[in-house]
């Protein structure tokens, strides 16, 4: 079934009749990132106005692979369960050279996690669920058919010019979040430019509706018989929709290749028959680029407006949600006067780090799929040839390294040598089952001390959560140690860990984090 787009109503904004009071946060763009940002701020008690130039959810499936970490974030925003229930759960990827499988990977080989490694779910569903939550929130004012035409800023805030079907108005905002996508008009309004690499490669992306019982796995082909020596990807989505990506090369004419008469015969070769309906299609180029900085005074870039990567690593939508995760608690504290604006520089630092890691992985995958002539192609082809004969070459075959959250560089953070690397400072606190509940669910969205196998020190400035030493908790948090204290940030990042913490050490670090010093 193709998706049934239901337009959201345009509601006359109050600003058209009288100036509105200043808003703490104005979010531009009601895509997954803008909506998630609004919900995250609302979780922290902060109001926002969300402006979108359109009045429907994403046209086309666009971002479809939502990672475990994204599902954990979406869960905190109230839509994680809906996404998992509707989505196609998968964890295994298979890579083929011609007709032979050369490599496969399992993204979540161990049990004891609440969320699966990935679900495939069309972006329009994720937006639908997030929009429903946002519309139901007293703290979120979601305005469709409100197009931003100008942004200017002063030291203490920003002004946003808006055009609607009934006229134009202005909003005053403490902060503006530019969640307006890869082609961000706000980026252009501020005269900012992306830096990085644009690859000379084009892919056709198509959704087809088809009755089939293909496995819930990611399948990628190098040089398949059915696509003349190029690359191809097949991915299953809900509602009998399949995503197909086909490499086209740089010499093809994008307008010509984007015609259904041209696309349908190509897809017939992939699936082996013509019993499908073309649901959506587009042509895209590969780019790995980002802004130099994401925080520009009172305007903060979040998601694709700040950084873009080639697909095949699921690092676009998932990277954007991690931006939201790193920004929400900090911006909420600034707006409430509980933290200085300096704390926002930590968002900039951490997410530039995350974007660089995504760009690095994505660039490497792109180069492997689309090597330049000469040595790069010789080694690519050598790797594919060896993969059928030698085990070491199989993991070198790079059809995309799928999104895992980066570890933030918290180099000064207290740490204990020998404790598991998976829970080192800067990493997302690993989930683990706790009887009928889950460790991450118990953390909430605040700073907490996790006391494992021992009572928490008394009189801390933050809430303490005491956890028994269950097998998964021991494996993921303790290793050979008998007990530990972990300081976990509101975005569920491990801030520090100790075997024994002297009086005042934890409180001092908590203060440093809120002051943007750690």
């Amino acid at each position: 079934m193709p998706y049934d787009y239901k337009p959201f109503p345009f509601v006359t904004p109050p600003g058209l009749t009288a100036p509105e009071p200043r808003h703490p946060v104005v979010i531009v763009g009601a895509g997954p990132i803008g909506l998630a940002a609004a919900l995250e701020l609302a979780n922290h008690g902060v109001r926002s106005v969300v402006l979108d130039d359109n009045n429907v959810v994403s046209v086309g499936s666009r971002a479809i692979c939502w990672s475990k970490r994204s599902l954990e974030i979406l869960d905190r925003l109230g839509v994680g369960a809906a996404c998992v229930e509707k989505g196609v759960v998968w964890k295994v990827g298979r890579t083929y050279h011609r007709d032979r499988e050369v490599f496969n990977f399992d993204l979540l080989p161990e049990p004891g996690h609440r969320m699966p490694a990935f679900v495939n779910l069309q972006q329009y569903y994720v937006e639908e669920y997030l929009a429903a939550k946002a519309l139901a929130s007293d703290l979120i004012d979601l305005r469709f058919k409100n197009r931003v035409t100008g942004v200017s800023q002063a030291a203490d805030g920003a002004r946003v010019e808006i055009e609607t079907p009934e006229g134009s108005y202005t909003l005053e905002a403490g902060y503006v979040l530019a969640c307006d996508g890869a082609k961000s008009p706000i980026r252009a309004m501020l005269g900012l430019e992306f830096q990085g690499v644009l690859f000379e490669e084009r892919f056709l992306i198509a959704d087809i509706e088809m009755e089939a019982d293909f496995p819930s796995e990611r399948r990628f082909w190098f040089e398949p018989e059915f696509h003349q020596g190029q690359s191809a990807l097949l991915h299953k989505q809900p509602d009998n929709i399949y995503r197909i990506d086909l490499q086209l090369g740089w010499d093809t004419d994008p307008a010509e290749e984007n015609r259904p008469e041209k696309i349908i015969p190509r897809i017939e070769k992939v699936v082996g028959h013509g019993r499908f309906k073309l649901d959506w299609h587009s042509i895209y180029t590969f780019q790995c680029r980002r802004l130099d900085r994401f925080v520009h005074g009172r305007v903060i870039f979040v998601g694709d407006s700040a950084h873009v990567v080639s697909p095949f690593g699921a690092r676009g939508g998932n990277g954007g949600l991690q931006d939201v995760d790193a920004l929400g608690w900090r911006l909420a504290a600034v707006v409430k006067g509980a933290a200085p604006a300096a704390i926002l520089q930590r968002y900039d630092l951490e997410r530039c780090h995350g974007a660089d890691e995504n760009i690095l992985n994505s660039s490497r995958s792109t180069r492997f799929m689309s090597p330049s002539d000469g040595a790069e192609r010789w080694f690519r082809d050598a790797t594919l040839a060896l993969a059928g004969h030698a085990e070491f070459a199989r993991p070198m075959v790079n059809s995309g390294r799928l999104s895992v959250p980066c570890v933030y560089p918290l180099s000064d953070a207290p740490d204990v040598a020998g404790m598991p690397l998976s829970a080192r400072p800067g990493a997302v606190a690993p989930d683990a089952p706790l009887g009928n509940d889950w460790l991450l669910s118990g953390l909430g969205g605040e700073m907490v001390v996790l006391a494992i196998g021992k009572p928490a020190p008394e009189g801390l400035v933050v809430r303490a959560v005491e956890v028994a030493v269950m097998p998964e908790v021991k494996a993921r948090y303790l290793g050979d140690a008998d007990s530990a204290l972990y300081l976990i940030r509101p975005d569920q990042i491990v801030a520090a860990r100790w075997e024994r913490a002297e009086d005042g050490v934890i409180d001092a670090l908590v203060a440093a984090i809120w002051e943007g010093r750690a």
Binding site: D381, A382, F392
Partner: protein, 68 residues
């Protein structure tokens, strides 16, 4: 471990002949592809990225490519 640059093969002449022999009858393109596979195999066998880095630097420095 650092890169071994002193003599390390007992039968150097034999190893050299085996390398040349493996390329016998190959076109330039086939030789290039063969070398690429061989380098990947040896690189994995070495298994030490610092050593590989030294080898890359030595190969680069000894290339004698005329600038311009």
């Amino acid at each position: 471990m650092s890169l071994v640059t002193k003599r390390n093969l007992a039968d150097q002449d034999g190893a050299y002949a085996a390398l040349i022999g493996a390329h016998k009858g190959l076109s330039d393109a086939e030789s290039t592809a063969f070398n690429a596979r061989l380098i990947l195999i040896l690189m994995n066998h070495i298994g030490d990225q610092a050593v590989i880095g030294e080898a890359l630097a030595l190969a680069k420095a000894s290339g004698g490519r005329v600038a311009g």
